[in-house]
């Protein structure tokens, strides 16, 4: 049931049964994971032999693979079948070892930059890293999930179950169309059913569903930002890697253009600090401002805290937020070191965040 690009209708044009079926098939395609989604995992443990390098994970099995994004012949790659915006989600479970750092990230098409996503201080027990980030990909682009450890030697990863170490890639929508959504009308007996307006309306709505509801942005910092201890000041995002609709304007917060549930993904890269100023915590979160208000509401939504006792910390917070049109989301970094700390900016693979429309309210 492939998604069919909806045609433009002209006054007087009459849809055929084939046109009706195209609409139905496209609705089904949207309902079935947008025709492109995979989740891969390993059936056996994996040893990361090198300390201090990023190692691509070879997957052995898929839990689902709609659209054939993965095959065992290219075990590390999840390949985009269509142009679009994709959600990459991954998790790594490590063997017990408390030396160094553990990280997870993504590489596109085998070349730099490396998108470090969650890097945290090692620990005994069963430490886990979990990450989520969206990417704009062309058909044929591939995403590899890598892990990083600095234990000083080889280190094992726990696999065997698909809840241990895994990764997923799913098409969220495409970027290249500016749609609108209008709630479909209710029909009554005797209504004229085949007007071109109906078909235009349906097709616009199909496009709106296909294209992320017309609301998505992935933004990054133009330069490094210094953060005082305990400060929760929203960051000023200066560059967009993805922009659909009006979710963001340069230098401003992310903002909901329409009522909806939005997915917020925050990835902050903390600069290495000299010994003596490491503190105990690196974190991220967000706060909300009412439409037109200059101040934020008092509630702080802290998302992910990690130890600052190792260099190279990256925090990755995830949230689904119900927002009314015009409400703004201010994203902050947070720490409790004795002096100010810095988060890195200046490139798309450093501190960044994204927000996109998930469902209507």
């Amino acid at each position: 049931m492939p998604f069919t690009e909806p045609p433009n209708w002209q006054i007087g044009q009459t849809p055929s049964h084939t046109d009706v079926n195209d609409v139905l098939a496209s609705l089904e395609a949207l309902r079935h994971l947008n025709d492109a989604a995979v989740r891969v995992y390993r059936t056996s443990d994996f040893t990361v032999s090198s300390s201090g390098v990023r190692t691509m994970l070879p997957w052995t099995n898929d839990a689902f693979n709609r659209g054939s994004l993965w095959s065992s012949g290219a075990a590390t790659r999840k390949i985009a079948p269509l142009d679009g915006i994709y959600l990459h989600v991954a998790q790594a479970e490590w063997a017990s070892n408390n030396a160094g750092i553990r990280g997870i990230g993504a590489r596109i098409n085998g070349s730099s930059p490396d998108y470090d996503q969650q890097f945290q201080t090692a620990q005994t027990g069963t430490p886990r890293t979990n990450s989520a980030e969206i990417f704009l990909l062309d058909a044929g682009d591939y995403v590899e999930t890598y892990v990083y450890q600095s234990s000083g030697g080889s280190l094992g990863m726990v696999s065997g179950n698909f809840g241990d170490t895994w990764a997923g890639l799913r098409l969220l929508g495409t970027e290249t169309f500016t749609p609108f959504w209008t709630d479909p009308r209710t029909w009554a007996s005797g209504d004229k059913l085949h007007g071109w307006r109906l078909w235009t309306h349906w097709n616009d709505n199909l496009n709106a569903l296909r294209y992320l509801g017309g609301q998505a942005a992935k933004v990054s910092l133009l330069e490094n930002v210094s953060i005082s201890p305990g400060e929760r000041s929203p960051l000023s995002w200066g560059a967009a890697q993805i922009q659909v609709g009006n979710v963001w304007e340069s230098g401003a917060d992310l903002v909901a253009e329409v009522d909806g549930w939005y997915m917020l993904l925050v990835l902050l890269e903390w600069r290495n600090e000299p010994a003596g100023n490491v503190g105990a915590k690196r974190g991220c979160g967000y706060k909300i401002a009412d439409p037109g208000a200059s101040n934020y509401r008092s509630t702080n939504y802290d998302l992910q805290f990690q130890s600052g006792s190792q260099a190279g910390i990256r925090t990755n917070g995830k949230a689904f937020i119900p927002l009314r049109a015009g409400e703004r989301v201010g994203v902050y970094g947070l720490h409790d070191a004795e002096q100010s700390l810095t988060i890195n900016g200046g490139a798309p693979d450093r501190s960044r965040c994204s927000m996109h429309f998930h469902k209507g309210l």
């Binding site: 609705l27 309902r31 839990a63 689902f64 959600l87 509630t299 006792s309």
Partner: protein, 176 residues
């Protein structure tokens, strides 16, 4: 909002008003979500040392659309879509105490007890807050439960009281 697949049409066939309205409902189901819920705990919940403890959710953020949660089964989030599905789950935990021991959290699928875990925090890991996102297969009627666990040495709690603290979100991502 209920999505009902519609049989394909043949030449000369004209949809009825009811069928047009079902197409409308299907549009709305995709736009507004067939299954979506965000929950939190209205008060702190105690967690005994070294004991896997399930979160008993008791409050809804916004409007609940399906997913089968109710106060009768506070810890369960069901797939009640009528179809096997991929669900997006976002689980955020805020601990009241974090200085000693390891803190872990995750969601467990009932049918096979598979766990999907959040980032874990060890001793002195700074950690009051953990944030995780998973997309998992959930058969029709199956459910997940969110759990936490720690090795602090004595009973500590996860923070509740409002939706900025410990909370969970689940939504239908799509059908296979």
């Amino acid at each position: 909002m209920v999505y009902v697949p519609i049989a394909t049409y043949t030449s000369g066939q004209v949809p009825t008003e009811a069928q047009f309205n079902q197409i409308r409902d299907n549009f709305n189901a995709l736009r507004y979500g067939e299954q979506l819920v965000k929950l939190y705990i209205s008060s702190d919940q105690s967690v005994a040392n070294a004991t896997t403890t399930f979160i008993d959710w008791d409050s809804v953020v916004g409007t609940q659309v399906g997913t089968g949660w109710s106060m009768a089964n506070q810890r369960r989030l069901y797939n009640d879509s009528g179809n096997d599905a991929i669900m997006t789950v976002n689980f955020n935990v805020e601990w009241l105490t974090s200085a000693v021991g390891e803190r872990s959290a995750g969601v467990r699928r009932a049918s096979d007890s598979q766990s999907f875990n959040l980032p874990s925090n060890g001793a002195n890991q700074g950690g009051g807050n953990q944030s995780g996102l998973v997309e998992l297969f959930l058969a029709d009627g199956d459910y997940i439960e969110a759990f936490v666990r720690h090795t602090n040495g004595s009973t500590i709690g996860v923070h509740g009281g409002s939706d900025d603290r410990t909370h969970i979100f689940m939504s239908l991502a799509g059908l296979l």
